[in-house]
């Protein structure tokens, strides 16, 4: 491994620690936000938004997705699409059933 690589990893480590800080802060923020007096739709939206940001940080930096190869990105896009389809399933049932 060259020195260049070494420096590279050191660089990475700094990023990891920053991300860690951000995650910790966001965790506290979600908890605090849950005590806010907002309507339940807003609360859901807020909590999921924060969770999504946190998840993106983990996926993007810890799992190196932001620099990952195309093959993997494609597979994940496909998966994400089907994930959405799966989440679409309760919604369609509840908006479009003749008796529920």
């Amino acid at each position: 491994m060259s020195d260049n690589d070494q420096a590279h990893i050191q660089e990475h480590i700094k990023v990891y620690l920053t991300v860690f800080g951000a995650l910790a802060v966001l965790t506290v923020v979600t908890v605090l936000a849950s005590y806010l007096d907002v309507s339940s739709t807003e609360a859901i939206f807020l909590a999921l938004a924060i969770a999504t940001v946190k998840a993106s940080l983990v996926a993007g930096y810890f799992m190196h997705l932001i620099t990952e190869r195309q093959t993997i990105i494609y597979i994940l896009c496909l998966t994400f699409f089907f994930f959405l389809v799966c989440m679409f399933l309760p919604l369609i049932t509840h908006t479009d059933h003749t008796a529920l």
Binding site: T79, C86, P90, I92, T93, D96, H97, T98, A99, L100
Partner: protein, 570 residues
Amino acid sequence: MSSDQHHHEESFIQKYIFSVDHKTIGLQYGITSLLFLLFGFGLMMVMRWQLAYPETPVPIVGWLLGETGILLPEIYNSLGAMHGTIMIFLGVVPLAVGAFGNYMVPLQIGAPDMAFPRLNAASYWSYFIGGVIMLSSFFMPEGAARSGWTSYPPLSIFESGQTIWLIGMVFLITSSLLGSMNIIVTIVQLRAPGLSWWRLPLFVWTQFVTSFLLVLAFPPLEAAAILQLMDRVAHTSFFLPSGLVYAGATVDVAGSGSPLLWQHLFWFLAHPEVYVLILPAMGIVGEVLANNTRKPLWGYSSMVYASVFLGFMSFIVWAHHMFLTGMGTAMSAFFQTTTMIISIPSVVILTSFFISLWGGRIRFNTPMLFALSFLPMFGIGGLTGLPLGIGASDIHLHDTYYVIGHFHYVVAPGTIFALFAGIYYWFPKITGRKMSEALGKLHFWPSLIFMNGIFMPMFIQGLAGVSRRMYDGGEIYAHAQDVLQWNEFMSISAFLLGAAQVPFIINILISIFNGEKADRNPWQATTIEWSAPSPPVPHLNFEGDVEVYRGPYEYSVPDAETDFLPQTEK
């Protein structure tokens, strides 16, 4: 590569039982799944006896069913559920993906093995355990599952035997996940030099799409199975609404669950699953067709696109199994439309197969006969899917024998025939010997006739409105009277179909030891597996390095010396 010392030292167990060689695992898969197919068929023959001659003692195996030898309604339901489960999850999928996928994919892409050999073995053993669990349920005090292969709650929560079924399913799902991950990685990573995506045989493409279906569609069913297990074991009520009264007593659970949740999660898998059954079959048919027409497959690239599109669409049509659950206009319109859309790629694939025949020099050997008959049989099955996919006509046809007829045409004379074609076609590669043509034809013609004898009358019964899963075949219903006489006809056809498998079994047993010796390329085929010795080198497949120079189906190239140009020859 130092493999030579390697396999000399292997013990019997390493070599045949806990082998990590994809060929051995493929064979293990193949043998186990064929036995399961035979067993699943056996269950169905018992049921068909009851349908033809309600409440008369079952011959031969009657003693297993209790003193009277009569099949009881609850056992009928068990056998039905297990027939469906075994045929699909323990028979066809393991044969198509586990056996053919495992054995042929690495060979067809010029790889020495699967990407993860040990995971591959784990996949087989997980399947094996799942199979043993499923079989053992027949001997449990509770008996085998009896709520249909679809296991709709609340029935499945109340009926006995379901717990074992769920546990078995978890193993089978795990097995499929491991297997298909492996196939995906193998195809992406281990293609021989020169083998670009557009040079892949159709079979590899279909395996690739199939594996994606398994990887992405099976987990939601696994989730659902876990929830159902919780409902049964921990008395939760994921699938139980409030206010149930079962067998005279109110059901004491928290309630406010929904039976529809299961149906959604189940069909989210089970619809893609049906394409898991058909795509590898189409792949095999493509291989056999190209080889025996001695010309390239017509519209190869559109077939590839169609398969990919088919796989993609199969995730968004699932609710066509649920039209009658009280669906509103928007949802039904959506799913009717997607269902009609998904029929188009099938039409594209089938049409390309037909057109491939035109201008060929067709050899009518046994694999070709099976592959050819796949086409109209799948055609009938696929076409009869259309009235089911239209909500309005499905009102009359839902859950009747029409549905049974529809899907058996695609899975039995469709997929099973394609798998037979694959067995006859690749047998020389696997064993170094050819199967007997005479016995093969003796297997083919009766099978074709009796398959139709069983399933064609089902459309008539279905149009008459006769429900499926009827213990007496509809005998007590007035509206079934006009079509009741078919029951006996269908059952006799089924028994004769059973008899027609005897030449096949004999053929396999005889040919392994005494079949005509085959060299490495007995069919003068082009794809890569035929450049390996028959059988291929253990743990290595090929004797030397493989390099690929052309597309998969270069038959009858103008000005070439032979009528086929193997992919691996310069």
